[in-house]
Symmetry: C3
């Protein structure tokens, strides 16, 4: 993409996020459906509904949760907490309730952040039936003694779990998995940013005439969504050659890459190389079995080569899982930069092939093919010649172009260009795998 | 052991050392027998007698040496060197002599430490027949010219080499070898400390109802003892799964571990992990083919996974092999700390197993088993959950709990505890080997 | 060699260089033949002639180039550039020309070094027919406008490519390849220094009664020479067990070693060990597929264990490929030091063998073989004993003496000496390979 197209995409992604922000998403329910509908307006998307009660490995698809309203009225009858103002106010998956109670009893249902007293926290109770409200600590402190009225107008009932899937077929069935979670309510960076960047990435890739890999985008609720997809696609999982879990892509922080369980999978090396080549600050971290859906993709029964590429990782920015993760926190330029980085990863994945030098005994005479200077001692064009010599020397069918770029300490682009010139000259043949 | 029990053991070990200190041990003879009798009073001990002249690999069991008295009288008839005052005064394995000679001739039989002029050195001549006396350099300098009378009332004759063996059988025949040398006379740290700590360790282990491994304690003379044991137990050596040579365990110095020849054997990793977890100063050193009996256990024809765990290593403290290695040099608290460290090593060896995650595809739902918090965003109990997730993620039958602890950067205890909880929940199965 | 013999050799090599300096060498022609004749006067040398037009892998042996004279006369008829003064003045491989032209036209045939204005550059055009002159930038600037007369009295015609080969057979057919380029005209360090040191090295090795390896010295034109040799000796290339490309051995700079493509071949470890043991500054660099003839030896179809051992590498000294690389730039002591270093490499290659400890179970009793002190506690002779113990402990047929020296952190010489003592005592047996 041109810098102009990227800048335009940054603005469009931010507008998309702003539109989707008010929807109350959860791991099931209409908030997810409406978000998927917005995505389906931009890329081809299959929307799947998996009935409540379906067994998925060790888990069961939960009941579907929907909410219309929720509030707390103080002893004077004034609404002091109101779901209509922010869907973070409700403990996600709260069961319905309408009752009166003293403040002391109510308090056991209230969640605040004493050390960030102005912010509303985000809390969930998916697998244990409960109800509750989240509010700022300032609000809590201002509540007078007396009898309160609370109302949660929600339903928790058999229904289904909803997720979206976009498959862009390529020349082979080997897939690149791109997975992002859609279960969070009004949190912009976590994870409308991931949803937006993956939507625009899918659109960009789908516009290309040829692709080496097939690309599978998953827009799924966290944990239960990836478990459900893996349970329904167990046999297909081995097609996944490379994968990334995308999230937190709109904040102004540096990129962070969390390696796959394997640690040295090709995706691990490709992302690391792309981030290093950008010359910006970056963090590369070892795999740990917590975080996002890489937990499931990297469980030992699958052990897929799936890492996670984010900007500031979850839990490390003060706005994380609070009402401060809002539309002002995510920025068009950060979203555009994230899209560019993912596109660069795709570019290296597509181009990182193995070749066989067809003239492996001594160097071929590059000069008579116009690929080498004719006056010995002339230094012009030297860098290009070095790239050619590196590709020839290392192309024994074992080393990939990324291996060669790293050994040569040249950019992947320079090595890829050299390989193209040598292919053109009939000096290389691609090796499968 | 409780801190109180350890403290008590420290005092008891010191008392044991004090009692054994005056005995004149050597590589054979009654000093060793009496020392073994003291050990046999505390743990079950098989005492073996191997006749002089027995061929053990490239070596021959030497004649047995016993000594009753030895002295030097100066020209005035005064005893200026007296074995009854310190058994270090005699060159160990001195043949009998009773003669008169001028100082000049006598001097070729006298050993001193010119740079530690107050101390008596410890010297031996096991394999070449000789006689001699060790004395302080001050003593030597004070000797007047004239005719001296020397007497060594010793016997060097066919007899046997004596060693003690304590086998504590476990659930399997795979053994942990604990070897310590008993051949030094009145030297407290080298090696009554090793003898005492191994005796108390054996007592502690024998008191336990179940053991994964069998434990074999050897109380042997250095070099010829381990060679003799290996020659008589050649077929059994392959049962040794892990081993340590114990010595120098009563001085106040930091622990030092010398790796086995293999360098990355499980015992090497376990001891290193235990020492690091203690948070104290420590030294970990590569294998070298000199030192104590690990020389023999790690000879290329055996190459057993045997390291050496000491406090200050041999030769690196100024008291080493001198009369300053006395009862004041070894300390009850240091002995107790050594016992604790060996017990910790045993604990990790016993607990370091491999498991198979029985629900390897995606995570099992820990929440419904009471192993996971129910409110998302709640941070209490997080550390325990991480340990559970690490064990689940890595338990593919290949990684041991110690591997997992190291990758997770969690304590072995935390990982072991998590594995126990998962076993309890039926989520793991032990894998052999 | 004794220091005196080395010093003498340094002077003799410098005299050899001075004698060969005026010859106009190129990749073919009489300059090479005369240089090879000088070498053949000192060592047994087979001189090969390969006809122009011979196909050698992807290349064709070029026409033979000879030159008698070349000059430029200025408008006043004065010779302003004269081949008789320096053979660097002619673009190497210039085709014949005799013409008159204006300065503007002439200038496209003139090569200078604007940033080193006093020096004449060295330039070639082997594979594209051209003519040209090299001169100092000062000379160029002084040329007046007007008509010039130029003359290149050369021939470029079918003939042959000439190279020299010296094979010194050893106990086995496994070869050490020593390759040096002979194609440069009056440049002393690059590469009369390499030619001289290899000639003296061959002489020294040939004088020895026994050699483990066969030694093959190649005196060849760069690139096309090694390609030609490999094409004619393809089946024999696999005999090359170790190899070095020699050049730039007379300047006062530190030694630099460029590893083979394999990176950890025995030659890489031997040279590194020899350079480190010398305790002088040194550079060890990874393989790159440009430089000298290691490019061809290390092409993926051969991948021979061939590195390059030089003093200052090509292109990194300001005199490189200019008229400043003259007789004053190369120094007898540097040449002598280079010869010594190559001899040390040969010494370690010859001595770096693998042994089997014939008494692998426990240590053999060194004392009764006179190889161990008899008084325990005596520290004299300790270093020698350690070397003996290291060799015994590690000689399981897998580790070489160099492996052992590196693990023991002892010098190769000390380990070699210990192995000799143990061989003498019948405690080791050599293992093939």
């Amino acid at each position: 993409m041109t810098p102009e197209a990227l800048e335009k995409a940054g603005g469009a992604m931010h507008a998309f996020i702003a539109e989707a922000f008010p929807l109350c998403r959860s791991i099931t329910g209409d908030g997810v459906r409406r978000t998927l509908a917005m995505i389906a307006g931009r890329i081809p998307l299959d929307v799947h509904e998996v009935p409540s009660g379906t067994q998925v490995f060790d888990w069961t698809v939960p009941k579907e949760w929907n909410i219309r309203d929720a509030w707390i009225k103080d002893p004077s009858g004034r609404k002091v907490v109101d779901f209509q103002e922010s869907n973070l106010h409700i403990l996600n998956y709260s069961v319905p309730v309408h009752a009166r109670m003293q403040l002391a009893e109510l308090q056991s249902h209230l969640f605040t952040l004493p050390f960030k007293p102005e912010l509303i926290p985000y809390r969930t109770s998916y697998y244990k039936e409960a109800w509750g409200f989240c509010l700022s600590h300032r609000q809590l402190e201002a509540l007078p003694e007396g009898e309160y009225e609370v109302c949660v107008d929600s339903t928790l009932a058999d229904g289904s779990l909803t997720y979206g899937e976009c498959l862009l077929p390529g020349e082979t069935e080997r897939e690149v998995l791109l997975s992002t979670h859609v279960c969070h309510p009004s949190l912009a960076n976590d994870n409308l940013s991931g949803i937006a960047v993956m939507t625009w990435l899918a659109r960009e890739i789908s516009a290309r005439p040829r692709r080496r890999y097939s690309y599978r985008f998953l827009f799924i609720p966290g944990t239960i969504g990836s478990i459900t997809w893996l349970a329904r696609n167990e046999a297909r999982a081995s097609r996944i050659a490379h994968g990334l879990v995308a999230a937190n892509l709109g904040d102004p922080g540096a990129f962070h890459y969390k390696r796959s369980r394997r640690g040295i999978a090709e995706i691990d090396r490709v992302v690391t190389a792309v981030l290093k080549a950008a010359g910006e600050p970056l963090g590369v971290e070892e795999f740990v079995p917590f975080g996002y859906d890489e937990r499931q993709y990297c469980s030992p029964g699958f052990d897929l080569p799936v890492g996670s590429l984010t900007r500031t990782p979850w839990g490390r920015y003060p706005e994380y899982h609070t009402s401060a993760d809002d539309l002002a926190f995510v920025r068009p330029d950060a979203l555009a930069g994230s899209l560019r980085t993912y596109l660069n990863v795709v570019k290296v994945l597509e181009g990182n092939r193995r070749y066989l030098n067809l003239n492996p005994k001594c160097e071929p005479q590059l000069g008579r093919r116009g690929l080498y200077r004719t006056i010995g001692g002339d230094e012009s064009g030297r860098a290009r010649e070095l790239a050619l010599l590196w590709v020839l020397n290392q192309s024994d069918g074992y080393y990939s172009l990324l291996d060669i770029a790293e050994r040569a300490r040249l950019s992947f682009a320079a090595i890829r260009e050299a390989a193209d010139a040598l292919l053109e000259a009939g000096l290389l043949r691609e090796v499968e795998g």
